[in-house]
């Protein structure tokens, strides 16, 4: 291909095309490198000694035997890390247990040795002297008077919002709009109930790991499995009291995250080990450690009450949640606050009140997990909508259509809804689900709808035109497998009217990438996409100026043509990106670089509408919507639920890559299916009883329906790149609500407790038969 010939493979815009993911070839060839696949010269292997107690004071360590063990180079304990503490909302966490242990499985010491086997063997030789303290194993216990306190210095911790922390209360949030207490009298139907949801493990196929190395100047390079190289940098530096400029954070390919890898896991420990050993150290968790040490989805207790008129108009909802935080705040205040913001569902409720308390307990930290609190409250809320519909004899689709929020409405406490494709989602599911089963039998149908935000916090993009006119894109957004590298390249290519394969995506690197808060909150396509589009536009503008000089005309006489050309409107004469960039690099104006940073800045709370106390997210995001229908079978013998067919429709604004949206909907649904039907982390006293894949079960290929139908609804968001909004979490949210509604329809029994195991459903069936 000569320099002035546009690429013939270009076939129109890249946006809206299901181009294969840029990382898929290396993955099918087994060539993708994950953290465990990285090796450095002289590298040691790390291993962790975990706490056997849920709550204990550390009185001292005896490392003599362990230090003398074969292959051991360095050992760290709480004595090796300073007073620094990290945390997304409340800085309550040291790099490694210091002074106290707060859960079984908490890292207490770590060893660097020649081999992993030697490091693990040496861990067993470390002696730690503990004084046991009473363990708090539930939020209720934590709130009791005289309960043992987990964080004695809680009042002194740095907090990024008004948390209201006290005793074991980590945070509280109260939101209200209208007058709930006064509204019940005007309702014809009221349903109320108490619901519980269980902890769910992320089970990313890749366990967490990190590799750290210190250079001659004492600067650290850290590779790790993560969802944000910048959060890694912040957490390590805060907990180890390092200036951020002293740590470079990178990521190889990541074997999925789902929230598990957003905030720190063992990166601070790995860095501390490498600094002590003065050699590179790699630390990879076992699956059991990944279960016991990292984080999980919060168990919720939800008390909910909903009232409506007999024509189906929803009037009021009150929701109270009590949330188990685990030992450290992590993302918990955000999860609870977000759950409360979403607990009304995508409905117009004139009167709403949502209150929550988050309580420290001696369990591993609970944190971000796809859905971020939304599935828990939706499990209660979407069942209550169905119950109201049943009571007044209304169709589940009709009651939802009647009450759903519309474009231009305000969401609970204030944010504006600028686009809303929920009606289209409901239509798609209804039409498909109306068709009879292939075998003519009656459906056991359940429906649920949901909304989710995409947005939050800072992001950026740098678009560089290389000398030959091709493009390098650097955003700092970690692709955890969902395909953001591909989608961002598509957005960039579209804006530049270039073939998709002429955009190379740089790997996130805190040294070279602009800030990106992280791959979370369904945000990368929406927020980073915006930055990419704006940065690419700046490159186009610069190229236009160059072209105007080269073609000796005004910029407004020029047009951007497909394939990397700029020409005069109405004439054949044009210049290629290669010519422009060559000129810029070597002669006039300097290399073409466009950069953009932004922070999502639409306020969440409108004080004129609502009262909000302890709101962790002052600015959240734009809204995506979805509807999910399921048809289930119940096994007569065991009560087990299986899904025969599912219909998942989502309004994602604009599908930049429809295939990738579809796979998000499939994957989200199946993870939600596991959550709804059988996944559960079980505690046996203070100890996790099933921290292995033998005992904790996730869906296999045979446990999911073949027929998961997806419908992409496109109601473009005015601020989104090409109208796009997020799609990452919304496919999971509605699963527990839809499945619970289907089970109620099939068995005549409503379940307030997740998961809907065979045992629970069987007992529900037997109870329903009796009445």
């Amino acid at each position: 291909m000569s320099l002035d010939q546009p690429n013939p493979s270009f076939t129109g815009g890249a946006v809206g095309k299901s181009v294969p993911k840029v990382d898929s070839l290396e993955k099918v060839q087994g060539r993708a490198e994950y953290i465990a696949d990285l090796y450095r010269p002289g590298m040691l292997h790390g291993a962790i000694l975990a706490s056997p107690y849920p709550h204990a004071r550390i009185l001292g360590y005896d490392l003599t035997e362990a230090l003398a063990a074969p292959g051991v180079v360095a050992i760290i304990t709480g004595d090796d890390v300073g007073e620094g503490r990290m945390g997304a909302f409340i800085k309550d966490e040291h790099a490694i247990a210091k002074g106290k242990v707060l859960y079984v499985g908490e890292p207490v010491a770590a060893v660097a040795a020649r081999t992993e086997t030697e490091a693990r063997a040496a861990c067993r030789l470390i002696r730690v002297d503990y004084e046991e303290l009473p363990a708090i194993l539930s939020p209720e216990e934590g709130l009791e008077e005289g309960a043992a306190i987990l964080h004695e210095k809680l009042a002194d911790y740095i907090k990024v919002f008004d948390a209201g922390s006290e005793g074991n209360l980590c945070s509280r949030t109260e939101l209200s709009e209208g007058n709930v207490d006064g509204a019940w009298a005007g309702c014809d139907v009221i349903v109320e109930g108490e619901y519980t949801t269980q902890p769910q493990a992320h089970v990313s196929m890749e366990p967490c790991g990190a590799l750290a190395e210190v250079d001659a100047n004492g600067r650290v390079t850290l590779w790790s499995a993560n969802q944000s190289v910048f959060r890694v940098q912040a957490n390590v530096c805060e907990s180890l009291s390092l200036p951020m400029s002293k740590l470079r954070s990178l990521t190889p390919r990541v074997g999925a995250g789902f929230g598990n890898k957003m905030e720190p896991h063992i990166q601070p420990i790995t860095v501390a080990l490498a600094m002590k050993a003065q050699r590179p150290v790699k630390l990879i968790l076992t699956r059991e450690e990944d279960f016991e040490m990292v984080r999980a989805r919060h168990p919720f207790k939800v008390r909910m009450k909903t009232g409506a008129k007999k024509d189906g108009t929803l009037v009021a909802r009150h929701c109270e949640v009590l949330v188990d935080c685990g030992a450290f705040a992590d993302d918990s205040p955000g999860v609870m606050g977000y759950a409360l913001l979403m607990c009304g569902g995508p409905y117009r409720f004139p009167h709403m009140k949502a209150e929550g308390r988050l309580v420290y307990t001696n369990k591993l930290r609970f944190g971000a997990f796809r859905g971020f609190g939304n599935p828990q409250v939706l499990f209660a809320g979407e069942q209550q909508i169905d119950q109201i519909a049943e009571r007044i004899g209304m169709d589940p689709f009709a009651i939802r259509r009647k009450n759903m929020v519309r474009e231009g409405d305000r969401w609970f406490v204030g944010p504006e809804i600028a686009s809303n494709g929920l009606a289209g989602c409901l239509d798609a599911v209804e039409q498909a689900a109306k068709l009879p089963r292939a075998d003519g039998s009656a459906r056991n149908f359940g429906l649920a709808v949901t909304a989710h935000i995409s947005g939050l916090l800072g992001t950026g993009a740098i678009v560089k035109m290389l000398e030959d006119g091709t493009i390098s894109l650097n955003t700092g957004a970690t692709d955890i497998g969902q395909g953001s590298d591909t989608v961002l390249a598509q957005i960039c290519a579209e804006e530049l009217k270039l073939p998709f394969d002429q955009v190379a995506v740089a790997s996130p690197d805190t040294d070279g990438s602009p800030y990106n808060w992280g791959t979370t909150a369904s945000r990368v396509t929406y927020t980073t996409g915006r930055a990419v589009k704006a940065a690419a536009k700046k490159v186009v503008d610069q190229a236009m100026e160059q072209a105007a000089e080269m073609l000796d005309c005004d910029v407004d006489e020029l047009e951007l043509r497909e394939g990397g050309r700029i020409g005069k409107v109405g004439s054949n004469s044009d210049v290629t990106f290669a010519q422009i960039s060559g000129r810029a690099h070597w002669a006039v104006g300097g290399p073409l670089v466009g950069s953009e940073t932004l922070v999502f800045d639409q306020p969440t709370h409108d004080p004129k509408r609502a009262i909000a106390l302890g709101l962790p997210f002052p600015r959240i995001g734009v809204f995506s919507f979805a509807a999910l229908g399921v048809d289930v079978d119940i096994d007569e013998v065991s009560g087990q639920v299986s899904v025969r067919e599912a219909w998942s429709a989502a309004d994602v604004g604009r599908a930049i890559n429809p295939k990738l949206v579809e796979v998000q909907l499939h994957g989200g649904f199946v993870q939600g299916l596991g959550y709804s039907l059988f996944e559960e982390m079980v505690w046996d006293g203070p100890r996790l009883a099933n921290p292995s894949l033998m005992d904790y079960k996730v869906p296999t290929m045979r446990d999911v329906p073949d027929a998961i139908h997806t419908y992409i609804i496109e109601d473009p968001d005015p601020t989104g790149p090409f109208g796009a909004k997020g799609a990452g979490e919304i496919g999971l949210n509605a699963a527990p609500g839809a499945l619970a509604n289907a089970v109620a329809q099939a068995t005549g029994f409503r379940h307030n407790h997740l998961p809907l195991t065979g045992e629970r459903v069987l007992n529900g069936m037997l109870a329903a038969e009796k009445t």
């Binding site: 693990r120 059991e288 007569e636 013998v637 065991s638 087990q640 059988f678 559960e680 079980v682 009883a689 099933n690 292995s692 033998m694 005992d695 904790y696 079960k697 996730v698 869906p699 296999t700 290929m701 045979r702 446990d703 195991t757 065979g758 045992e759 069987l762």
Partner: protein, 279 residues
Amino acid sequence: MTELLFPTTVEEAVALLAAHEDARPIAGGATLVAMRNAGLVESTHLVSLDRIAGLAGIVRLEDGRIRIGAMTKHAETASCEMLSGSLEVLRKAAGMIANRVVRNMGTMGGSVANADPAADYLPALACCDAVLTIAGPGGTREVSILDYVEDWYETALGEGEIITAFTLPAPYAAASSYRKIARVSGDFATASCAMALEADGQGVRVAIGACGPGPIRDPEAEAALCGHLGDPEAVATFAKALADQADPVDDVRGSAEYRLQLIPRLISGVLNDISKETV
């Protein structure tokens, strides 16, 4: 520190096990290596059974009985056409163990020696009246599967002994089936039921799995049920007799109470399946 030994005859294997205290046989390794990886077992000597000729494979004896070598992989058992009719229950059970890949590794001897109360072979073999051949320092002996499991993870297998084969009565034409309740495909059973119709079609042999230390079978109750398979009350009485002998535990797969509920439901369900097959 482990040494791996490769005997080529049963006698040699038995001698090696006797020679090293703490030695263990290793068959498919599917359980043993997983336990080693989790730091749950350490053995100074592993005696590998995979190079002993004649320990793997399924043959029909002259008298029609079927002999399955201890080293036979689940995959082979799951596709063996000799296991038909009254023995189909064993083939079905084999096909429900774990998944295809693990079935390429695990062996019947390893599974039965390990005697996980939730293992699929135990009830299936009990339903088939299998007899184990066990070789040890004192020579070879035969043990009925019904006498084999003595308590939780305790079996008739003595120190230094290995299982060499399983012998099954000659198959006859009658329906038999296996039903396993598990949280997901490939999980160990929460409860399971193996059932085979007697040759005359009047009675059944039934074994319940995962509801006690070993499979639950009750020949007396089976005799009482004989001739009354179509009578729901008789079936209920039979199911109650088995449930009364159950000693289920609460674990992450389900509660003891649920397991007790499942026993009669499984029995009716499987009976229903095999009656349908018979028509």
